[in-house]
């Protein structure tokens, strides 16, 4: 899977250009680290998305592009006294090609890890050819 070189959602046209003119209104996005591996039935994608709940996760495929977009949230009581990280929003795109059956993608979110199962389309699977030996 090739990574799409679309750095932030602002350039994808999903937002109006007005948003970009507001000073410091742009949300910060980072690409989540992913594992992608092949199985017999297709591709499996695992992405670390700490602080992301089901409601704040958006995964979609259009135009042969897989988009993962998520908003991280957490609530800790009290006043901060020591900080090592900031939760940031996630955004990453991959080119999936036409061999993936976009209708049949399964997603599962568990312990802050997204698992996507991207099945290979039936037409793209290797066909068994019988060879007759006389």
């Amino acid at each position: 899977m090739a990574e799409k070189t679309v750095p932030t959602p602002a350039t994808t046209g999903s937002r109006s250009s007005n948003d970009m003119e507001v000073t410091r209104a742009q949300e910060h996005h980072v690409p989540p680290p992913v594992d992608i591996y092949e199985t017999r039935d297709g591709l499996i994608l695992l992405a670390d998305l700490p602080g992301v709940s089901k409601e704040n996760l958006e995964v979609h495929v259009d135009d042969e592009t897989l988009t993962i977009q998520a908003k991280a949230q957490h609530k800790v009581p009290g006043q901060p006294i020591y900080r090592e990280y900031e939760l940031s929003n996630f955004f990453r795109q991959f080119e999936v090609g036409d061999q993936i059956d976009a209708e049949d993608i399964k997603a599962e979110l568990k312990y802050g890890v997204l698992k996507l199962e991207l099945p290979i389309a039936q037409s793209a699977k290797p066909k068994k050819v019988e060879v007759k030996v006389n």
């Binding site: 992608i36 998305l49 090592e84 312990y111």
Partner: protein
């Protein structure tokens, strides 16, 4: 006197540089997999934020993909230790089947020294969406005492 100041400056700069490297966030981008390699960074996983209110400290650790059953949290006086294992893809997946392998994985232990003594009997922990929130009640001795001033 001027000389002593110079040495102090160098010393301060040295500490500053050390601190900058300690705070290097190695868990995103190309550094993501360094988190579990032996050495200095291994003891820095998971990253934590600490919050405080009058009675409690709250430690939030960013640890996505850790099975809660593998996690172990212990508190002794003012020392908090978090350990566990972050699993990656299943073991039976052959290396050549990977297109990308960016997520960190492995066993970790992190020890944090807290600013106050903790009542270790009442520590609670919760794991949601890959974030571990540990609630640590301050021990009675560490709580601020109100001292009344008598007017004579």
């Amino acid at each position: 006197m001027a000389q002593a100041d110079t040495f102090q400056d160098i010393d301060a700069l040295h500490r500053e540089i050390d601190r900058a490297f300690e705070n290097l966030v190695p868990f995103t981008g190309p550094f993501a997999r360094m988190a579990f390699l032996p050495g200095r960074l291994a003891r820095g996983y998971p990253l934590v934020n600490v919050h405080e209110d009058k009675d409690r400290l709250y430690v939030e650790a960013m640890a996505p993909g850790v099975d809660p059953a593998s996690m172990n949290i212990s508190v002794v006086h003012n020392t908090l230790t978090i350990s566990g294992e972050k699993k990656g893809a299943p073991d039976e997946i052959k290396p050549e089947a990977f297109h990308r392998e960016e997520r960190a994985r492995g066993k970790f232990v992190r020890t944090i020294t807290l600013p106050v003594e903790i009542d270790d009997a009442k520590v609670g922990a919760e794991y949601t969406n890959g974030l571990l929130l540990i609630e640590l009640p301050k021990s009675e001795r560490a709580k601020p005492k109100q001292i009344n001033v008598r007017v004579s």
